[in-house]
């Protein structure tokens, strides 16, 4: 005879673990079979493994979301392969249809599994522990004590002391403990759904934008104020809260004392003042210390030098003036910048290197030997020709497309590159006028973001962890004590790998023996 087990011995619903029977042929039963398959534990397990495997390519190929330059580079280096990879969304793995399909199926499976369990668990909480199986000796832990007409009160006491739920029915004691295990399990899974929804909504409602600010410049929080702005599809840029932020001063600390650490940056500080609702306040933004104002967080993500340059034509009219953002190329802040002078009588552009502390390599080339401004020098290559600003070419401010332009200073042009120290002014070749290096300012790259669901993601994540801890440290146990004419049987069943189970059964048996001596 088969053992009659409590109906919810495995995972509450029988079908989670029972082998699934072949379906008959009606559509309804077929759908029912499919749903059972999807919500079965085994499917969840496979989907989890599939999700893990599907996440791997996103760490191998550059992703548009995390590393857009990497993707551009990949396309440049392997154009044919890249085209194919892109067809399979391998540069957007985490928003790809196949990755989404896996996690959506997983969450449907999760919801389908968890929802009915909530009802079952509620019933278990309010009802008495289930009746004992017919054949107790088949349970994982079992003890038989030969006592006739035993007094079972010590067993009841034992269970009550340990906060078991107890029911005495005839000659049988039913005890159960550890309902928190299932509560924690449900909390964990429901909170995971919460995390997913909060992350999804956050992705639609958030925005994030970048802006490079040179010392003295002011950023105004509207669409035009950003260099790049990526709002979620439900975010209305009209809702950007009106504030302005001025970069007053940017400073860095470099290590000058430790040889092993020489010239490494130790601190970046952006001193800003911001105006919100007519009130102006001072603030300091550092790495790891964003400025938080209502509906916006402002992060410091990069920095560099912005040499202040003035270009004049032969008649002394100013054709270009202002600080130019130079992008750092190495740890000593050798920086590269582009100056385009479209308003000159003859259009020209300059590709310039900036060395905060100039030094010479063995090859004779210049480089920066220290990241701070000790001996700043600017070196400029001049190109004459159409800049192409009108027809959309050369619109990237950090790039000079020299195709079709003639180099008149630096490189192989025969004229040396123009070298300037702070305060110096030199003539440009080819009758282009003059260039002056007025001074150096610093710039800071700022990220401005807001995600209204962030707090909810955190709350659900913490609930997930809480549920997990409760579930994994609470053992769920059922014990039965059954009296027959000549003996007492004690048996136990656990829902997880429970090492204490045998010990508890022995203790109960011992307590009964002691009382009935």
């Amino acid at each position: 005879m088969a053992t009659r087990r409590p109906s919810d011995k495995y995972v509450v619903r029988k079908e989670y673990n029972e082998p699934i029977e072949a379906p008959d042929l009606t559509i309804k039963s077929w759908l029912r079979w499919l749903w059972r398959q999807l919500t079965s534990m085994k499917t969840a397990l496979w989907l989890l493994l599939l999700l893990a495997a599907a996440a791997v390519p996103g760490s191998i190929y550059p992703q548009r979301s995390a590393d857009p330059n990497g993707v551009t580079l990949y396309f440049r280096n392997n154009p044919e392969l890249a085209k194919w990879l892109d067809r399979f969304q391998l540069f957007d793995v985490y928003s790809s249809s196949w990755f989404s399909a896996i996690y959506l199926l997983l969450f449907i499976s999760l919801i389908g599994c968890v929802l009915p369990r909530i009802g079952v668990h509620y019933k278990a909480l309010v009802s008495d522990p289930p009746a004992a199986p017919t054949n107790l000796s088949r349970l994982p832990e079992y003890k038989k004590v030969e006592i006739a007409k035993a007094d079972l009160s010590p067993a009841i006491e034992f269970f009550k002391e340990r906060k078991y739920k107890v029911a005495v029915v005839g000659n049988e004691i039913r005890a159960e403990k550890g309902f928190l295990r299932e509560s924690g399990n449900l909390l964990f899974h429901v909170s995971l759904v919460g995390v997913l929804i909060a992350v999804g909504l956050g992705g639609a409602l958030n925005y994030s934008g970048q802006r490079v600010l040179v010392e003295g410049e002011t950023f105004v929080n509207n669409e035009a104020g950003y260099d790049t702005l990526s709002p979620g599809f439900l975010f209305d840029t009209k809702n950007l809260i009106p504030f302005s932020l001025r970069l007053n001063q940017f400073s860095t600390t470099y290590d000058l004392r430790n040889p092993s650490n020489y010239a490494k940056p130790l601190d970046f500080r952006a001193k800003v003042s911001y105006t919100l609702l007519g009130k102006t306040e001072q603030a300091l933004i550092r790495v790891n210390e964003p400025l938080q104002i209502p509906n916006a967080k402002i992060y410091l993500t990069g920095n560099g030098y912005a040499p202040d340059i003035v270009v004049r034509d032969v008649n002394g009219n100013i054709t270009f003036s202002g600080p130019v953002v130079f992008l750092p190329q190495d740890t000593n802040m050798t920086s590269l910048g582009v100056i385009k002078v479209p308003d000159a009588p003859k259009q020209f552009g300059m590709m310039a290197f900036f060395y905060p502390t100039v030094g010479k390599l063995k090859t004779g080339a210049f480089t920066s030997v220290y990241p701070a401004l000790v001996n700043p020098v600017l070196s400029m290559n001049v190109f004459v020709g159409q800049l192409g600003l009108e027809d959309g070419m050369n619109t990237n401010v950090f790039e000079l497309n020299t195709h079709g332009m003639k180099q008149v200073a630096g490189g192989k042009s025969g004229t040396k590159a123009i070298m300037l120290e702070v305060g110096q002014k030199k003539e440009l070749p080819d009758g282009l006028g003059s260039v002056e290096f007025r001074g150096v300012k610093r710039f800071a790259s700022l990220d401005i973001t807001f995600n209204p669901m962030e707090l909810w993601v955190l709350i659900f994540a913490i609930l997930t962890l809480t549920g997990l801890i409760i579930m994994l440290i609470t053992p769920r146990r059922r014990l039965w004590v059954k009296k027959t004419a000549s003996s007492v049987e004690v048996a136990a069943l656990a829902k997880s790998k429970d090492q204490a189970l045998g010990k508890i059964v022995s203790e109960v048996a011992k307590a009964i023996k002691k009382k009935n001596k």
Binding site: Y10, V11, N17, M41, K42, A44, L45, L48, L49, L51, A52, A55, V56, G58, S59, Q63, S65, A66, D67, G70, V93, Y94, S208, T253, D255, L256, R257, N258, P259, S260, N261, K264, P265, L266, D267, F268, R286, V287, N288, E289, P290, K297, Y299, T301, D447, T449, N451, E454, V457, L458, A461, I462, T464, L465, L468, I469, L472, S496, K497, Q499
Partner: protein, 292 residues
């Protein structure tokens, strides 16, 4: 604010020597423990001289961990911060925590029989840390100057330690339930016992790993202006989490308990090692803290 700290390279050298001292002791312990295992396999688990050898091995590991601790501590003092800001430091601190957790656990759980594996693993980690990952003490870059470095990384190390012990148990389980009955396998407890023990270490590891993931997200939100961005290290932390989640499901799925679940444990731990070595060194991402 002047944030320049004075590093102490001389003390760092002392620290390195101490760690190498610990490495030597662990190596001897590994040999003694291997000897004890073969003896147990040949003469039974209760063999007195085998048990004596096992205890000697564990005492050796105990004295090793003491010196190891001083080594880790002096590294921290030399750098004036927590000793886990680059791969070398993460390795020596991680291997210290693994050994310490393991030795502490032997007081509560009957897991002396995996001492050989633990000591062997630790020898491997310290050995490669010293030859491949060694870097001089350096100050923290601004991105790492945060208290989350203390919380996020230390819990990650702790989780790894529990996963490591579970993986050693799972490896034995797989060998034991295989078709080939190696003589050496007689030195180990039953498959059921191994399964239970491995599960217990895995669930603690999983809780700690979940915490690591959440703590990492909180820190990323502070330092990188988003709590999750599929950075390569984030991807792998997620992959590891998912594998162990699958493992937990496997332990309660009929047909998956035992050997298959043990394989998942091994796959999970391999992913952890992969995340620490290959992802750190060869994958492009924001977690560029190997120091190499």
């Amino acid at each position: 604010m002047n944030s320049t700290v004075i590093l102490n390279p001389e003390l760092a050298t002392v620290s390195r020597l101490l760690v190498l001292g610990a490495l030597t002791i662990y190596s001897v312990a590994f040999l003694v423990l291997t000897w004890s295992l073969t003896k147990k396999a040949a003469e039974g688990k209760k063999n007195a001289s085998a048990n004596r050898l096992e205890n000697i091995g564990l005492y050796l590991m105990g004295s090793g961990v003491l010196i190891h601790f001083i080594g880790v501590l002096t590294r921290g003092i030399a750098a004036q911060r927590v000793p886990w800001a680059n791969m070398y430091e993460f390795s020596i601190t991680g291997s210290f925590i693994v050994t310490f957790i393991y030795l502490a656990a032997t007081f509560f759980k009957d897991i002396k029989f995996i001492a050989t594996f633990v000591s062997g693993f630790v020898v491997l980690i310290i050995g490669s840390a010293n030859t491949l990952f060694y870097v001089q003490v350096e100050s923290l870059m601004p991105a790492l100057q945060d208290y989350w470095l203390v919380i996020h990384v230390s819990v990650a190390i702790l989780g790894t330690a529990f996963f490591m012990i579970a993986a050693a148990l799972a490896a034995i389980l797989i060998l034991k339930s295989g078709k080939k009955k190696f003589k050496l396998l007689k030195a180990f407890p039953t498959v059921e016992k191994l399964e239970k023990l491995s599960y217990q270490f895995n669930i603690i590891g999983f809780i700690l790993w979940t915490f690591t993931l959440i703590a990492g997200a909180i820190w990323a939100d502070k330092a990188w202006h988003r709590f999750w961005g599929w950075d390569t290290k984030e991807v792998w932390t997620f992959i590891i989490w998912t594998i162990y989640a699958a493992y937990l499901h496997a332990t309660t799925t009929r047909g998956w308990e035992g050997k298959k679940a043990a394989w998942l444990t091994l796959i999970g731990f391999t992913a952890i090692l992969f995340n620490f070595t290959i992802v750190n060194l060869y994958f492009k991402g924001l977690h560029v803290y190997s120091g190499l």
